[in-house]
């Protein structure tokens, strides 16, 4: 239970960083921390105390495998989610570089030409 609590602290930390900081790169880092906190949460869902890795060795029976191994499905979900996070990160960094070129600042409170 403690580890879920720590994981939610990580999520809130990422959310705070995304909302409260003004520098664009700090916002990007906050978003990445938030996404990784959710990935960690998904992996933790499949964890079983004292479990073995989900690899079926030749001398193992199927019953002990099902009973003792951690759940491999969340691990596959997290692989996909990490790749999606990488795509979003690449796009964010590219857009923030171009934003610096146009506005000459990384400060979000000065990038406010669209309003109303």
């Amino acid at each position: 239970m403690l580890i879920y609590f720590l994981n939610s602290i990580l999520f809130v930390l990422g959310l705070y960083c995304l909302i409260a900081k003004k520098h664009l790169v700090k916002k990007i880092i906050g978003m990445v921390i938030m996404e990784y906190a959710i990935n960690l949460f998904i992996v933790l869902l499949g964890y079983k105390g004292g479990g073995i890795p989900p690899i079926l060795l030749p001398e193992m029976s199927k019953a002990t495998f099902v009973q003792q191994s951690v759940d491999p499905l969340p691990q596959a979900l997290v692989l996909t989610s990490i790749v999606i996070g990488l795509g979003v990160l690449a796009l964010m960094v590219a857009i923030s570089l171009r934003l610096y070129e146009k506005y000459k600042t990384f400060d979000m409170s000065e990038i406010r030409r669209l309003r109303g």
Binding site: T80, S81, M92, L114
Partner: protein
């Protein structure tokens, strides 16, 4: 024939990569490939129209082990909307994108967005929904920033951050659903949830999905990205965003998860109707004072999505029918309005209403279609907007929500006022001197616009021919979600 269902996703996806490969050697081949992919998609959708509901397991892995694609009446409605509107927008985009460089990359991102939307609409697996949602969203973030001016980049960054947060929240909700039920298949999850789940967890999942999908469909506390992102995108992308993405990724996913998987509870219905009412009012009040044509249309998107939310949140047969019909109609006339604004921008170079005027004399086809779309969105008979708004209002009064019904009528009146303003300043009135030399838009642009205008008239008048097959069967599926378990599982 049922084997061809994955081609909805596979053909646009493959054409995106073939386009990038071939356009390094043969310039200017991209529009033909995109047109071929979109026409094939429309043919496939019409071929499957009216087919009995079935599921297709990818790679012959039986559910719940494998991922399934499900063709049921609700997916059929959305697949038809996506196919027809993407054909009209593609026809429009072929001359319009000549003004930009790097056209082949535009067309590849556009095809990826279409493939993502088709995947969201057809899938029968929760995590697959998330993956396709992300494909379509990331493609749309990149497309909003396509012409790299300062304002477009700012709008795209705002859209990216808000959309990324909403995707994270959706992923958290899917993870919680997996923890509660132990499976990812939608039908299996629905069956497991019928057995009972702790109330606190269920309401938390409802709240998370409401936040996530509410942001994708621009409901009121989560609408802040839309007025910046939709005007800044190139005109075909604005039409796709406002006409398809907020419906396929937002409202459709909301309906699928809330009604069919989780099972709607009364408090969520109240919240949906409240947020829908707020969206209607706030959207239209902020729209009336706008002088930028596309920003006005973007605010009206928020308002009309409020109509759909109110209709669906009502959860009575007439209400859901009104909501689905308005979804279909709004896709058609909002895309048409954005395409017309793009045509005006292409010929005159501006989209500020005060600098336009009297365009209907120089651009009869585009101006006439714009006028038809403006009358549709205001709810003037016999165009399609009138019928769907009437059904929603009658459903509200029948369910004894008198205040909300009066608010809906008032918002409809305000929509009429703002579109009278649009028509007066852009279409009728005096032509400024500097616009004396403009001509009608190129042929492909006019073709795309006229297709949608004909549909605006046809959808309203010809309802008895297509209504029961397409709309009412979707409505019946939403009201009795137990049917979904019959045809989506072996």
């Amino acid at each position: 024939m049922e084997n061809w269902l994955p081609l909805f996703v596979a053909v646009p996806l493959g054409m995106a990569f073939i386009n990038l490969l071939l356009s390094k050697f043969i310039k200017r081949i991209s529009p033909f490939l995109v047109l071929a992919a979109v026409v094939f998609q429309l043919w496939l959708a019409l071929r499957f129209l009216g087919h009995a509901a079935f599921y297709y397991s990818m790679g012959n892995w039986t559910p719940p082990l494998g991922i399934t694609l499900v063709w049921d009446p609700l997916s059929q409605l959305l697949a038809l909307i996506v196919s027809v509107i993407s054909l009209a927008v593609t026809l429009f985009a072929i001359p319009y994108m000549q003004q930009y460089t790097a056209q082949s990359k535009f067309y590849s991102l556009y095809l990826l967005m279409i493939a993502g939307m088709n995947g969201v609409v057809l899938t029968g697996d929760m995590f697959n929904l998330f993956v396709f949602l992300e494909i379509a969203s990331i493609a749309s973030y990149a497309l909003v920033a396509f012409g790299v001016e300062a304002e477009e980049l700012e709008a795209s960054f705002k859209y990216l951050v808000l959309g990324g947060v909403s995707s994270t929240i959706i992923l958290l909700a899917i993870a919680l659903l997996y923890a509660a039920t132990g499976t990812l298949n939608m039908a299996d999850m629905a069956a497991a949830l019928r057995h009972g789940i702790s109330h606190g967890l269920l309401f938390f999942i409802f709240a998370l999905f409401l936040m996530g999908f509410g942001l994708k469909s621009a409901m009121v506390p989560f609408h802040a990205w839309l007025p910046d992102a939709h005007p800044s995108a190139p005109a075909p992308i604005s039409a796709m965003l406002s006409g398809l993405i907020i419906k396929a990724l937002g409202i459709y996913a909301l309906i699928r998860v809330f009604f069919i998987i989780l099972g709607i509870v009364p408090i969520v219905k109240t919240i949906m109707m409240t947020l829908g009412g707020l969206s209607m009012v706030i959207g239209v009040f902020l729209a009336v004072g706008q002088w930028d044509f596309k920003r006005l249309l973007a605010y009206h998107s928020i308002s009309q999505m409020g109509y759909v939310m109110v209709g669906i949140g009502l959860a009575t047969p007439l209400g859901i029918l009104g909501g689905l019909f308005h979804l279909l109609n709004h896709a058609v006339f909002k895309s048409l309005l954005f395409l017309c604004s793009g045509a005006f921008e292409y010929t005159t170079g501006t989209r500020q209403l005060k600098q336009l005027g009297g365009l209907i004399r120089k651009m009869p086809w585009t101006g006439g279609s714009c006028s038809i779309a403006a009358l549709s969105i205001s709810g003037v008979p016999p165009f399609n907007g009138f019928w769907s708004k009437l059904i929603i209002i009658v459903a509200l009064f029948q369910a004894k929500f008198y205040f909300l019904g009066a608010v809906t009528v008032f918002v409809s009146f305000m929509t009429l006022i703002s579109f009278i303003k649009v028509q007066k300043y852009s279409l009728f009135g005096n032509l400024p001197e500097r616009l004396q030399g403009i001509k009608e838009a190129p042929v492909f642009m006019v073709a795309g616009v006229v297709i949608l205008a004909v549909m605006c008239v046809g959808l309203g008048v010809l309802y008895p021919f297509y209504g029961p097959a397409i709309l009412e069967s979707a409505r019946n599926l939403i009201l009795e979600p137990g049917q979904y378990l019959q045809f989506a599982m072996p």
